[in-house]
């Protein structure tokens, strides 16, 4: 499969159709890969594809360090493609401005990451070229089993759980930086005139940051779980992201990342939207 990806990358670069191919190369540590930005057809052999291609490269589509190189082609797994779809939906990129090199994927990591067993996009839903055998989408998966389980706890137990988890937060903002959806030029956490979100890692500051981050992803988070993968202190961020995803799905019948034409629920109104909170 990697041979076909390299061949396509070479062709795209040689023809000038794209200026950069965003993909993965082998990392320096064992069992790692590193994002790579290939700008010359002679360098396509650096590209690799394996189960250690964790990173969601969609974040590089809007980062100026990469977008300044010119029109990109991007190697993307199904979950990464969902992020690209939301970026298109939210007008951050135009569909015609990116060549999606979709790869079918049976899971990354060894053992696979927690997102992989409940993945329904082993074959990306949107692509220009597809690499790998098509894998039919899994049906009968409950994406929210762990959220359901967590919700059985009492409010006190949940508070205690999050208090302990969030007390570990060091405010490195890796969850934000890695997130393809966190493209704000100035994050609310960086606005300091006045300081809206306290930078301190005390309980209040940690709750404040983590809740704001989660809220801003409601109806937008595509469940790539990069935030949880990179968190240096192992905070189970997916639990809070997906709790919100569960609500959005239940209330609006909407899951982000599946359809570039679908209007995102926070920018759209439907007469049948539930309004029981207006008493």
């Amino acid at each position: 499969m990697i041979e076909q990806i390299r061949e396509k990358a070479k062709e795209l670069l040689a023809s000038g159709e794209v200026k950069v191919v965003i993909g993965y190369e082998n990392g320096g540590l064992p069992e790692t890969t590193r994002p790579v930005f290939i700008t010359s057809p002679d360098e396509v052999d650096r590209l690799v594809w394996n189960k250690y291609c964790y990173a969601n490269l969609a974040t590089f589509l809007w980062r100026k360090e990469v977008s300044s190189l010119g029109k990109p082609a991007i190697v993307a797994k199904g979950c990464d493609v969902k992020a690209i779809v939301v970026l298109i939906q939210e007008s951050q990129i135009k569909r015609e401005d990116v060549v999606i090199l979709g790869v079918t994927c049976t899971g990354v990591g060894d053992p696979p990451l927690s997102k992989c067993p409940i993945c329904d996009v082993n074959t990306p839903r949107e692509y220009d070229c597809l690499f790998g055998e098509e894998i039919p989408p899994k049906t009968d998966i409950n994406k929210f089993a762990d959220v359901d389980e967590f919700e059985k706890k009492s409010p006190e137990e949940r508070w205690e759980f999050w208090e302990e988890q969030l007390s570990k937060c060091v405010k490195c903002y890796a969850c934000r930086q890695v997130c393809p959806m966190c493209y704000c030029e100035i994050c609310i956490a960086d606005k300091n005139q006045p300081q809206w979100i306290e930078t301190s890692s005390h309980t209040r500051g940690n709750y404040h940051w983590n809740l704001v981050r989660a809220w801003h992803l409601a109806g937008r988070c595509v469940d790539c779980l990069e935030c949880e993968r990179v968190c240096p202190v192992d905070i189970p961020l997916s639990l809070v992201n997906r709790r919100l995803a569960k609500s959005v799905k239940a209330r609006f019948g909407y899951e982000p990342g599946y359809d570039t034409e679908a209007p995102p629920p926070f920018t759209d109104f439907k007469p049948q939207d539930p309004e029981e909170f207006i008493k």
Binding site: R34, K168, V170, C172, Y173, Q195, T199, P232, D234
Partner: protein, 366 residues
């Protein structure tokens, strides 16, 4: 006092070394060592394991300490330099403002079971915190602190202490360094008066025979570590190549999170913030990171480090050029945490090897 002579004096203060006193500690007495520390009134910080995460935490019994890992996820710098620390707080009363000094900085503290790379971070940062401004939080805590480090007998691919002039059994920064020399015995190198005083109070150490040798114990790991780049070649290249296409090539994948700086035992940048309420408030010192865009943004909105490539260059320049220029030491102990935990595998070793290879080949020289 001029900057130069002050710097020199501080360097002398922090570099006061002496011949180690060699003692031994029986492995079965290791827990008692911690217990003695607790009994003597030390706050004891040690690596603690929770699921897969190992961090330095205050412990109340020796069983909580986890000494088997290569390095902990976060470094023990937080003991001296907490990620959030109240400098003072104040309350506004009707007729007066009451200021409270909140920092409890004089309690005797013991760091137990850190690796030599972490112990070495403290004398490196002493230079900074005792430079032009005397940081009393650091200095006071440091005075009451005993560091008992344990030599490494294993390493991983991210470790590179031997490439920055240290070793898996370096004594730099340790008051006592323990090296497992046989199944039931540690060789204890007592490096300082503080260490000697502590060892004596515990009554757990024996005189070491002349036959004990840590070199044999750590030989295998030293060989495994090898040398990953040539340190002597780094600074000369950095001196000349602030602008070089290499920077963009090796750092374009950096996403600008603070992981590398926050897991680093020697990164020490902080920000002072005011958290005020209608009837009081606090001045708080929080970790900050050169990798954040907001780190250098001016009030005008101009940012002299406008992209991640310049921000990442800054981190390397600071560690391998500016700090050596200003304070005479490389601001890195080769612990490998930034390499190990970087979400995008930017990999400092790769960058430094790239630099040392270019310098060797004479590339980039005018």
């Amino acid at each position: 006092m001029t900057g130069d002579s002050k710097e020199k004096q501080n360097a002398e203060q922090v570099e006061k070394t002496r011949q180690p006193i060699l003692k031994t500690l029986r492995v079965e007495n290791l827990n008692d060592l911690v217990r003695k520390g607790l009994d003597l009134g030390y706050r004891v910080f040690a690596p603690v394991k929770d699921d897969r995460l190992v961090t330095f935490e205050q412990i109340s019994s020796p069983e909580e300490a986890f000494l088997d890992g290569i390095t902990s996820r976060t470094s023990p710098k937080s003991v001296l330099f907490p990620r959030t620390e109240r400098i003072f707080s104040y309350k506004i009363r009707k007729d007066e403002i009451v200021v409270e000094d909140n920092a409890d900085i004089s309690q005797p503290t013991m760091i137990f079971g850190c690796r030599p790379c972490d112990a070495a971070s403290f004398p490196i940062m002493d230079r900074l915190f005792q430079w032009d401004y005397q940081d009393r939080f650091w200095i006071e805590r440091r005075k009451g602190m005993v560091i008992i480090a344990v030599s490494c007998l294993d390493c991983d691919d991210a470790c590179f202490c031997t490439s920055v002039g240290l070793a898996p059994d370096s004594t730099e920064g340790s008051d006592i360094l323990l090296t497992l020399v046989s199944r039931d015995q540690y060789l204890a190198e007592v490096m300082t008066e503080k260490g000697e005083d502590f060892a004596e109070k515990t009554g757990l150490f024996d005189e070491a025979g002349a036959d004990l040798d840590k070199e044999t114990a750590t030989k295998a790991v030293r060989e495994k570590l090898g040398k990953k780049f040539d340190l002597d070649k780094i600074k000369p290249w950095l001196d000349e190549n602030y602008e070089h296409e290499f920077w963009a090539e090796v750092t374009r994948m950096c996403i600008g999170c603070g992981i590398c700086t926050y897991v680093c035992p020697t990164c020490h940048c902080f920000d002072l913030v005011d958290e005020a309420h209608y009837d009081g408030g606090a001045k708080i010192k929080n970790w900050d990171a050169c990798q954040f865009a907001a780190f250098t943004v001016h009030a005008s909105g101009h940012n002299p480090r406008p992209d991640q490539i310049s921000r990442h260059r800054q981190r390397i320049m600071h560690k391998y050029k500016y700090y050596p220029d200003n304070l005479g030491a490389v601001l890195c102990t080769g612990c490998g945490r930034c390499v190990r935990h970087c979400p995008m595998e930017v990999n400092l070793i790769r960058i430094l090897k790239g630099i040392s290879d270019m310098e060797k080949a004479g590339v980039g020289e005018e």
